[in-house]
Amino acid sequence: MDDDAEIIAEFLVESHENLDQLDRDLVELEQQPGSRELLSSVFRTIHTIKGTSGFLAFNRLEELTHAGENLLSRLRDGELQLTEGLAGVLLEMVDVVRALLGLIEQSGTDAGGEVEVDPVVARLRTALSPMVEEASRGTSADVSKPADRDGFETLAGARSSTNGAEASSTNDAVEEQTDRRSAVDSSVRVDIDLLDSLVQQVGELVLTRNQILQKSDNVEDVELLRAAQRLDLVASELQESVMKTRMQPIGQVWAKMPRIVRDLAHQLGREVDLHMEGHETELDRSLLEALRDPLTHLVRNAMDHGIERPGDRAAKGKPAKGVLSLRAFHESGQVVIEIADDGAGIDPARIGEVAVQRGLVSRDQLSRMDAREVIALIFQPGFSTADEVTNVSGRGVGMDVVRTNIERIGGTVDMSSQPGRGTTCRVRIPLTLAIIPALVVEEAGDRYAIPQANLVELVRLEGEELRRSVEVLAGAPVLRLRGHLLPLVSLAEVLGGERGDADEITVVVVASDDLRFGLCVGQVHDTQEIVVKPIGRQLKGMSTYAGATIMGDGKVSLILDIGGIAQTEAVASVVEQAVETRHTSADETALLVLEVSGGRRAALPLHEVARLEEFSAEIIERTGSTEVVQYRDGILPLVRLADAIGLPSPARPEVPLSVVVHEDGGRMVGIVIDKVLDVVETELALSDVGRRQGVLGSAVVQDRVTDLVDLDAVVRLAGAAV
């Protein structure tokens, strides 16, 4: 009910303004009856009121404005000339509309009360009909004139009566009036362009403030310092207030959801309970505007594809009435909107099937995707599982557009589903696009900004700790952070430079969606508010940057697009693997795939691998026939894997040795390999083919036959040698 009250309040504010304009227009129109422009404006106003009143089921208001609209459209199209009589009828209509609005403001409905609508409607119609006949017949004025005069007379009589009606209704409400009107009077409508330019100017002010603050740091002048501090404070408050003027509660978009859901439920034969939470969650109005369509689309989808028909639900033992819940809340500087249903959920198998049919992925690609990736396929252009096209959904334009629209405003959308239990769609959007807090980092002498929304933590590693925590897997460095593997990406490399070998690194742990990775940067400066500015079209295609900003000293800095970097650096796949390891199903094994003996493939169970090392050939020593290296205050025996599994072992003394360190009950063995190829999760179908000493058998891993190393045997070999 609150929603309705809100819509009505909005409608009233808008209509009152429109009516004032209408009065002016009509009066002006009497001066210059031929003005097509004025007529169009009047027509639009009445049309708007008609449309909204129809939507809000104010039937009398609708009937009245509808009759008025018909007359106006004739006038606008030049089929009728505006006479004094017609202008009178129209003004009278405006009066009655106003009276009806007054009634709605007091009682919430346009029914009852003492406002008489029918006489005016009748007059509007009679004013119209003879003219129409005249126009169509093209006969003399004899026919229309009496009617015209007739209309004019009755009009005069009725006019006083409606005036009376209006007067009485206003009288009734006289004491309440001030209260009721406050909604109208306490708000001012402001042109959006003006707000936008305000935001821009405040942005400039914030930048100038930053500049002044920076300069005033090295100044002795106390007065100046104090003024600078005041400026700082005022600018911050001003910025906050201006941003607030652009903030609107999400309830505005949600307000029409109950109606949409009701209509759709009816149309699709569903029974749905709609729960909404977090109306008051505010976000920038431009974002709100952009959200309107995607959210509506997601709700439609949930109704059409998610929630089942009551019969089907009963058969599954669910309550016949489905639940659709909308939730909005703030989380770490972002607005999160969840659209959840308790419907059928998404069946990854079906999605995969359809995606293959539509040629979006090959069967081969599909087989390598996990459930999450498969579900994400619904965001591909041209995807639709609807067997038949309804006017609700199923035209195959949809989710991709939803995603594009949300991404355009810097947001993300993500689906999760439990088959049979329901689907949750999570949309994340920034609060505002204009001014954001960001961490400033430096690389190769240039500063870059990382949006705070992507920031997780800062980690600094040096010396022994660095060597212990960072490992290089197949050329890709990873950081062990509190038991999890975090892919490391070097900002220098992202920017096309070289990754330097340093004895200390600074890692900015960042997240985008569910992807987390560490960005190694040269230097970390401070956090500051930055104004996001667009960059030229030549750079829009670059996924590395989200925009640019101007720093306190006036220099331009680029804003990094963490999501874009994750994609270009292919961190995505690494992370998903890392995530997967935590809940690997019993039949899947994580394997470290290696190359030995110049191009042959072998694999070790990943959990047997303690770490990966590289030793230069010079440090290899020998005890007896065994090669060893000094390692961590001990002696690490080395086994050449090629020898151990009966493959030729080409001597390459100039190349540093890649060594997989295996630890077993405190005893370490270094297994010398050519290089690490990859880490894969796979279902092992071990074949006896290739079984020999040191090899358990062969399996197809990544479409290639790979020897699975019998680690025990290899270790025994080393043990025997020691």
Partner: protein
């Protein structure tokens, strides 16, 4: 020919690039500036030399020499900025030196000689034959488009 004369700009802002004389319609030119400090954009198209802070607005600086496939300017030559408006954005064209604003009503805009290098031909509206020199008239929208910028020409390693 008629279409050419219709689009012919009345006044041109002129400048030099590697000894060639160029002009761009003054209607597109916002201002002309000396060398400005730039922030380089790693991995951007080669012709994008950097970003300039123009009174709070961020402007992409396109090196016309690179865009048109001309040899790079020597290090001691500091480029000047011709700030143009192109499709709602403000962009900077980096040029060697600025000339005068020329009234070109007396000259005919002629088609671009077909044997000019493609990179230059692509960015021109036409040419004007002036006494003693030839003026190449640029289309600012195409001039700032770096997607077609050629790879570095020989002689500039």
């Amino acid at each position: 020919m008629t279409s050419l004369t219709q689009t012919r700009p009345a006044q041109l802002c002129t400048f030099w690039l590697d000894g060639l004389f160029f002009g761009v319609d003054v209607a597109h030119v916002q201002e002309v500036l000396r060398y400005q400090e730039m922030t380089t954009v790693p991995r951007a198209p080669r012709a994008v030399r950097g970003l300039i802070n123009l009174r709070g607005q961020i402007v992409t600086a396109v090196d016309l020499r690179c865009r048109l496939g001309l040899p790079d300017r020597s290090a001691e030559l500091w480029p000047m900025n011709v700030i143009v408006r192109s499709r709602g954005e403000v962009q900077s064209l980096l040029v060697d030196d600025i000339g005068d604003v020329m009234d070109t009503n007396d000259y005919l805009l002629e088609p671009v000689p077909p044997h000019l290098p493609g990179a230059i031909r692509d960015a021109l509206v036409g040419v004007m034959s002036l006494p003693g020199t030839i003026l190449l008239v640029l289309d600012p929208d195409r001039a700032v488009d770096c997607s077609t910028a050629p790879e570095p020409v020989g002689g500039t390693p």
